[in-house]
């Protein structure tokens, strides 16, 4: 049994009906969901942006609120993808037994993991786009280069959904996710240049910070949203892709070990 668990994930369009199922459920609660997903980051943005911004004026040559907005949109996508792949996926897998019902049909577990990953990424991108619209309203990000932002938000969602599904696969109960949020995601936010430049950190911490996926997403999205170009697009895309591929592979293997016993 063990050797079979380690084979590569089977990617197939069979995931589509499962993805559509999640979309259908979401559509019933869409308004509340989007408001919930954008309210929290917008409140933070306005509070810090105007509150702290009045003290800081400019950071790396841009007004603080724009600096913060361009970083926190990545953070929001990360959080939305993680929440969906943890709490929501866990309730479908463990509590509602939705996955069990799916496995009795001509679907494989790999189809379900792929569907959950892409669904979480899609949902995260939807809230990222909603935030982007609000930013346009504030006059932030109105540049042609912003057209490149949505695909990057999707990739960010794909990356964090994949990582979160690893945590989902090993969780015994919802409580476990608190560790992931407080011990992994929260420190990552402070190391990824969302609120302040990474150059403010001690040098040894900077080299660690430069390898984190959220930092890579911020380094890609921020300049585009501010009308410029990323410094090292290939390197940062590579970081996101490596976390995605390794994360998704591990998530698939661990989920197989959990459920195909």
């Amino acid at each position: 049994m063990s050797a079979l668990n380690y084979r590569l994930p089977a990617l197939s369009p069979r995931f589509i009906p499962v993805w559509r199922r999640n979309l259908l459920v979401w559509r019933k609660l869409a308004v509340a969901s989007v408001i919930g997903n954008i309210a929290e980051p917008m409140i933070t943005l306005l509070a810090f942006g105007y509150g702290l911004g009045s003290l800081l004026q400019q950071i790396e040559g841009v007004p603080y609120i724009e600096y913060l907005a361009s970083g926190s949109i990545c953070m929001s996508v990360m959080m939305a993808a993680s929440f969906e792949s943890l709490y929501s996926a866990f309730s479908r897998m463990h509590v509602q037994k939705t996955w069990e019902a799916l496995l009795n049909t001509p679907l494989e577990l790999d189809d379900i993991v792929l569907a959950e990953m892409l669904w979480a990424a899609s949902k995260a991108m939807i809230s990222g786009l909603a935030i982007l619209l609000v930013l346009f309203g504030l006059g932030i990000g109105v540049h042609p280069t912003t057209l490149l932002v949505p695909p990057l938000l999707l990739l960010t969602g794909v990356c964090f959904a994949s990582i979160a599904l690893i945590v989902n696969a090993i969780a015994k109960a919802y409580d476990f996710f608190t560790y992931y949020f407080t011990l992994v995601l929260t420190p990552m936010i402070f190391l990824s240049g969302v609120y302040y430049p990474v150059s403010q950190l001690p040098v040894w911490l900077q080299s660690l910070a430069n390898m984190l996926p959220l930092g890579a997403a911020v380094r890609l999205v921020r300049p585009l949203l501010l009308g410029g170009v990323p410094e090292d697009p290939v390197g940062d895309l590579a970081i996101l892709l490596i976390y995605t591929v390794v994360g998704f592979y591990l998530a698939t293997v661990l989920t197989r070990r959990r459920l195909l016993k």
Binding site: V25, Q96, N104
Partner: protein, 306 residues
């Protein structure tokens, strides 16, 4: 050809000293159109057998052929022709009755038009036509079970796996499920049923197997099995004096078992027992033919299982 064949199936969990055999050399074959029962106490290996047959877990050894496909290799194709009623409710709580069926049909690659063509019949069959647009929260336990049954029929399966389909239902709801299952059998469907309700097995199953500790310990038609393993008549004796009376019973019955304050006497001829009991005071008794429960308890013992 048999619709499901299981040959020398073995499955164990754990390694080394923790190794625990759950399925130990089980073989059986289902004929088309029959209802075949898997009976056994909790933890006997019934659900694991179903999971193995569906290809959801890989056996240590043995062969499974399901609707012409070798499992687990061809399990995905095989499941196209299988319906499953799982033990735990796994309906989608966010959907209406109709949406549950539509969405489930998509998992089989069915087009919306194909599913819609079956929808009326499915709702009619499961007596849920007037609940078509009801949300799940509005359904009773029996209705949810019927919806689970309807969902298992979306793809028009040849063989339906039922894992304890009436556990937790009230008598009315159970009878309705039984009646629906009989209707399915009448249309030529095949059913593989696991249960620990003996009356359910006796009513529905053409043939059944008793499984305990992962081994098949008996197989056959219910009446034959009873005749083969159990004395034809049973006298159950209750009351304060029953345990003391059991001493005399041993001379009159072929086999006597005591469980709590009830004495079970198994015999081919109940007359001597009944005569004795007619003189005894402080005792109540019931004389009945042997049934599947007697067989089950004889084969698997009276101790509690968890």
């Amino acid at each position: 050809m048999s619709i499901l064949t299981v040959n020398h199936l073995k499955k164990s969990y754990g390694e080394g000293a923790d190794r625990h055999v759950v399925i130990d050399d089980v073989s059986f074959a289902l004929k088309r159109g029959e209802c075949y029962g898997l009976l056994g106490p909790n933890g006997a290996g019934k659900t694991t057998t179903l999971r193995l047959c569906l290809g959801l877990t890989v056996p240590d050894s043995g062969q499974i052929t399901l609707v012409g496909y070798e499992v687990p290799r061809g399990a995905r194709q095989a499941r196209m022709k299988i319906g499953v009623v799982p033990q735990m409710d796994s309906l989608d709580p966010d959907f209406t009755v109709e949406e549950n069926l539509l969405v489930y049909g998509h998992y089989f690659g069915m087009q919306p038009s194909q599913i819609h063509a079956r929808l009326d019949w499915l709702l009619e069959f499961s007596n849920l036509a007037n609940k078509r647009h009801a949300r799940l929260g509005e359904l009773s336990g029996g209705m949810k079970r019927r919806l689970t049954l309807a969902r298992a029929l979306v793809n028009d399966p040849d063989l339906i796996f039922m894992d304890e389909p009436t556990t937790g239902l009230d008598p009315q709801a159970r009878h309705m499920i039984w009646e629906r299952l009989k209707a399915l059998l009448a249309t030529g469907k095949t059913i593989l049923l696991t249960t620990h309700f003996m009356d359910e097995a006796e009513r529905l199953c053409n043939r059944l197997a008793v499984i305990d500790h992962g081994r098949m310990i008996a197989e056959g038609e219910p009446r034959d099995l009873i005749a083969q393993h159990i004395e034809a008549q049973v006298v159950e004796v209750y009351g304060d004096q029953a345990i003391r009376w059991a001493e005399q019973a041993r001379a009159l019955a072929k086999r006597v078992e005591v469980s709590g304050d009830t004495v079970f006497c198994y015999t081919q001829h109940a007359e001597p027992l009944l005569q004795n009991l007619s003189h005894a005071s402080g005792l109540r008794y019931l004389h009945r033919p042997a049934n599947l429960e007697d067989l089950f308890l004889k084969l698997t013992g009276r101790e509690m299982r968890d």
